[in-house]
Structures are given as structure tokens and as C-alpha cells.
Amino acid sequence: MSQELIDRWTVFIEKVSERLDAIIQEAGQGVLAIGRAHREDSMPLNNALTGLDHRVRQLEERIDQVWDDKVEGQFSSVGGKVHDLGIDMTADAKRTHRQRWERAKASWLSTLANEAKPLALAAEAEPVACQNCGAPLALPTRRKTVSHPCGSCGTVNQVVPPAIVRAYFGAGCVNLANAASLPHRHAVEDNRVEVDRWSRARNWAAETVESMETWRDLERKVHQTYAETLASLTGEPIDTGFVESRMKHFMKYGLDMNQAWVKVHGRST
């Protein structure tokens, strides 16, 4: 009885998974095409991703709906570990589907960013002439908007970066940094699930301080990887302030709320 129940739920989850595969396959071609057609304007790409996110959320909602309305009662009536197994199967399906979708998006956005890089570097190297006398301007950077006096006639030129430079060194590099940190974000999520199940198997034992230290280190790895990758791509210094601000938030609303942690490590602030 319980095996049949598990098999039927497995079949349903596999069907949703196949549906996600079909969306990823179809969406990939569309996202890359739209991104290549509008390299300097992120709006069409973001519009498309918003619509696709909604479509993928519908799959997750469908799992929840069927589980709540039709399936959980059956698992619950068997009870015990079978009920826990059903809950785990449902949560794992939703988490792995979302992670697959996030990896797919990161892959497409990384492809587009890497393709934009040579175009951005070429545009950055193009000379800029003074709008008053035509003499070439010796600009300190082409990656930011600058007000720069002409060395020849003294006229102040306000020079904005070319659109492709803004696109690559703005959203493109951020997308690449996000893609680099994504596996670490997923590792945090997987770790929390693992800890929760470890606790459940021990009659809801409290998480150990060593486990929380692992959580803290995994969390820091996410932000550190993002900041280091972004710095390596843009040539700017590593934004340690960003990392520490994220960790401060994590500690304040995460570990500092746990008495076992505070007893050993004290409060972070």
C-alpha cells in the first residue's frame, strides 16, 4: 500500500520534472535569442525572465496543490516514516526544481555576459572627441559617467559610457558573479535541509554549535565568492564592506538568535 503510494507520487514528481525540462529547453533558445537581439537594453530580457519565473512557479504551486489536496492525507493515514518520506519527497522536488531553474538562468545570463565582454572592451577603447573643438579627450575611465575638461579648449564634456559598456560592466558582471556564487547558495540550502532531517531523526535534537559554524562558513562563502568574482571582472578592489554587511545581517537574524551559539561565541554585535 505505502510503496504504491510512494510510486504514484514519484511518477507525478517525475512528470513535473519533465515539464520543467521542457520549459528549460524551450526557454534557453528564447532567452539567448532575446539577449543577443537586445544586448544594450536589459528590459526585454528581464521581461522574459519574469514571465518564465512565473511559469516555473506554477509548477511548484501545482506540486503544493496536489500534495495538499490529494496526497498528503494518504501519506498521513499511513503515518510514521512514510509520512515523513512524502514530506521530504515534496520538499526535495521543489528545491531541486528551483535550483535547476536557477542554474539554467545563470548559465544563459553568463553566456550572454561573456559574449558581451569583447564588444564592451572594443567600445571602451574607441576615442572620444570634445564636442566643442573635436580634440580627443583623455578620459580617466569609460566605465563611469565623467565630467572632463578638454585639454585643448577647456570645455567641460559630460561623457557617459557606451551602452554595451554599461550593460557588461553593470548587469553582465553582476550576473557572472551571481553565477559563481550560486553553487555556494545552493550548498547553504542543502545544508539546512540536511540539518533539519538530522534533527528530526533524533527526536528534534538541537543543532550543534559545530554545525552552526559550518552554516556560518557556507554563508560567508556565498558573499565572498560574489565579491571576489565581481572584483576580478571589473578590476575594482574586493568590496569587503558588502561581505561584512551581508554577514552582519545573517548573524543578527540567524545565529545570534540561537542561545547555544551565543553561549559559546557571544553575540556578533
Binding site: K15, I34, P44, G51, C130
Partner: protein, 141 residues
Amino acid sequence: MDLVGTLSAHRAHLVDAFRGPSWAAVAQDYGATGATREDQLRAALTAVVTWARGLTADPAVLAHLDTFVSEAMDAAVPKTGAVAGLSMIFANATASTGWWASQMSSKTTYVASCTSCGAPQKKLLKFTCEYCGLPLYEELR
């Protein structure tokens, strides 16, 4: 058991087996092959329909056979509820690009010029005309 009853028994047997661990053996019994369980089930149901068509000329039974596979597949394979096509999403995503493109300028260098005499700005953060002394951005009245 009449033919319709036999068909119902085949359907119940196949759908139940499809949901359980004994599917591989049942699929083999029906000679059903396919890359996925779903394909195998469809092949098994189609084999049943082919067999039944050779046994009857009754229009009512033949009409039942026309929808036998699709109805059994619907019963066995739960729907996910999502719509397949994504073309509308991409169509909507680019719907306003023409308007935005018309509003954007490809120009990347600007010089602030006096609205009174046309002289250019000469000093950073100084927005008074070097030539005529009027504010660079103030409109003439």
C-alpha cells in the same frame, strides 16, 4: 466477459501496474517498448486496441476504441497544469522595445551650453556662463 469488459480489465491492469513497481514485467508481457514509462504504457494500450479492432465491427465499440488510449493515458499520467508554449512570454517581453528605442539617444557626450549666448561650460561644477554671466541652464524670459 464481453469485449468492452475485457478492455476495461486490460486498462485497469495496465494503469495499476504503471503506478507500481511491477510495471517492467507487465510492459514486457504486452510487448511494450519505449524510452520512458509513459511511452511504454502508450504502446501497451495501443497493442490492446489493435487486438480488439480485429474482433469486432460494432460501431459503438470502435468509437470506444478511438478514445481508449488517450483516456487511459489521462487516467494514468497526472497533469501538471502548466501550458507548454512560451511564445507569448517572449512576444510580450519585446512588445515595448520599439518605443524605448525611439526614446533613447546613442549620443554619449554632452556639453552644457549657455541658453543665452551659446558659450560652452568651461569649469567643472560652475554653471554660470564664463562669457555673459547668465546661468547656463536658466531659460530666458
